[in-house]
Amino acid sequence: MQLDARIPGGPLAEKWDRHRFELKLVNPANKRKFEIIVVGTGLAGASASATLAELGYNVKTFCLQDSPRRAHSIAAQGGINAAKNYPGDGDSIWRLFYDTIKGGDFRAREANVYRLAQISNNIIDQCVAQGVPFAREYGGLLANRSFGGAQVERTFYARGQTGQQLLLGAYSALMRQVAAGKVKVYPRREMMDLVLVDGSARGIVVRNLITGEMESHAAHAVILATGGYGNAYFLSTMAMSSNVSAIWRAHKKGAYFSHPSFVQIHPTCIPVHGTYQSKLTLMSESLRNDGRVWVPDRAGDKRSPNDIPESERDYLLERKYPSFGNLVPRDVASRSAKEVCDQGKGIGPTGFAIYLDFKDAIERDGIDVIRKKYGNLFQMYERITGEDPYKTPMMIYPAIHYTMGGLWVDYNLMSTIPGLFVLGEANFSDHGSNRLGASALMQGLSDGYFVIPYTIGGYLAGTVLPEVDEAHPSFEDSIKLMNEGIAKLLSIKGSRTVDDFHRELGHILWEYGGMSRNESGMLKAKELILGLREQFWENVMVSGSPGEFNQTLERAGRVADFLEFAELLIEDGMSREESCGCHFNEAFQTEDHEALRNDDSCCYVAAWEFNGPGKAPTLHKEPLVFENVELAQRSYK
């Protein structure tokens, strides 16, 4: 199949306007004849559900949690970017576009990213109108701060809880549509399968997590907004239920998967401290605005940090990147941390940690200013570690945080399956090989509030769709298969727990598919994953029965999918013969150990086609064409 990204013609700045004009419209009276399924209620899913319902479509919305308000967008701390240029410091749509393309190391589409930058301003307007309590200046106007690798102040924020406030805004819009009778929300449902009729997405099968029953839902189009797959690595900053299952099952039905190996490792997280640990906690990147990253000069220096004099400290980011200093992008900061820890200069009980020190900022601005800016983060740090960051420097280490990869989508956010749209972190589209801080919230809301409402109309108006309801045999077939899968998991009755398998998979991926990758390591990972998957299906222990609330069974299904998906993650990493953004292949680096892109042969979007269990997937390439920006070596020196 030839991949067509359907990027509109014309100058970059006019593409989206032109496209919206060219898209067919659904007559207002006809919208009520269409049913749309939305899976996931994070920023992308909740905003899409609400907006589509406002337009008149009938929406069914599904989530895993007990309420749509709990989706993991809620945990985003730092902020949301927009090109408002309120501080007058030189920002513009063009600069936000350029920063995002460059930040992603030139592995995203120009047209998508430009649209994102354009829409960024509408998002802020919308959220303010909903009553999102953004931070304000003394005069009552909106406050901005600089964030994660940006040299302008374009980040809007609500203390350290921006994701929470934006999600509650989208959730409230969704609840309003539930009250209006335009959306029906199905909580505690897990998507088990995508149902195709004549090759188009026409519904889903979900498992009711309370009763264990399989339920069929038919629609004219299906939207997946199911988030990222970082939990493949077991330990991550994701929520415990975050999974790859929804998009992986769609992939197995024909949706191509792009860039599975583009996984963002966030530099400022609380370090790992025990084998029982279930998740890692992010410390907002905004801390790098005032905190200074350092390690002892001498390997193995075990003195307490306050006893190490200035002259014996290495402020590594300030040394290596004098112009960006502690604010370099996430991938660069994470690799620098790994590099010094590998040299034995890491601190703390494990040696896999570095300091983030606020002493100078406290001396300069006073403790009250620092407390006002970061009080809740410092409190969270102390709660988890039992140490007071006002007195001793924080210890941080990189952790799996966000996945740039996801299902391939065209400019309309439609996957390779007609009628299947993918939004937010679940798609691959806007962040290239590295996402900049405060861009995830922007993309989720852009996709949901401002892109899909137009593009789904174009699909529905321009496609002849036969009537399909839940009585269609495809639903029954799918339910039979899904029940067989569950019965198989329960029948193994082995001796190893689900979490035990998951933890081992995480170790393999972190070791060989983490911050630094090489050919032989990735080959080894493939072998190990294969072996682990075989063991899983012979020896996993899943208790309980299918027809009840069974959290072990839920996890088993997700881990089974991670075990299949992990192989594609590694395969994708091996196929890309360059280093770019988060993907660092040791064979491709500059003398200074910076990522070395290969623009001649690797300037493409990788899109993987599933060919059946046990068969090698096919790699399709969508060339990336840059007409408006010059491909440059990223430099933050």
Partner: protein, 254 residues
Amino acid sequence: MSENINLTLKIWRQKGPNDKGHLETHEARDISTDMSFLEMLDVVNEQLTVEGKDPVSFDHDCREGICGMCGTVINGLAHGPERGTTLCQLHMRHFKDGDTIVIEPWRARPFRIIKDLVVDRSSFDEIIQAGGYVSVNTGQAPEANSIPVPPEWAELAMDAAACIGCGACVAACPNASAMLFVGAKISQLALLPQGKPEAAKRALSMLRKMDELDFGNCSNETECEAVCPKEISITNIARFNREFLVASFGSSEK
């Protein structure tokens, strides 16, 4: 520094909404004091699974204190002994070797028990549906800075908006009242100019819905404020009461 402790747990077990529940005793051995409470329960569940027993069901998701999904009553206190802390952020260093810990679900009329420690809080969604929003469709919004908001109001609105909807306030209240939850949402929107046009309608409608769903009344016990993991102040209830009075006597809303 971290150490390992042993604990006796008395955990509420209940197969389904209509079954009779009971407290079951389990020993938790070699628990690192660096663990979170939920990680301790993970360890117990791994052990139960290996022994071929049914692991304890409990709700949880983000494990960083913001999603509001987790929450149980620990020794009679919603979310446990630490102030301003969700269960997932409660660490075992706050317990001592040899402690007995009683773990129970939220108990309140409007929160049906689903299984073990898992309860149904969909009534909170229903209350928000009754008016916990500003009626603005996507695309209708004016330029963001055309609506200045004094920073002190924005701060107070943010204090109220920090609610995570966990339900601890209801579980702690002897009347199972949801006044702190509702008051927080009413306050957030009443403090901001965006929320003013619908303020009267919202106050009346949300209160009516709360009554309809069988939540009790507020009798100023202040237990809700004491257990709230986000330390939402009961001044939000006072503000809600003012809004309600204004709406009842000073507006044409019914």
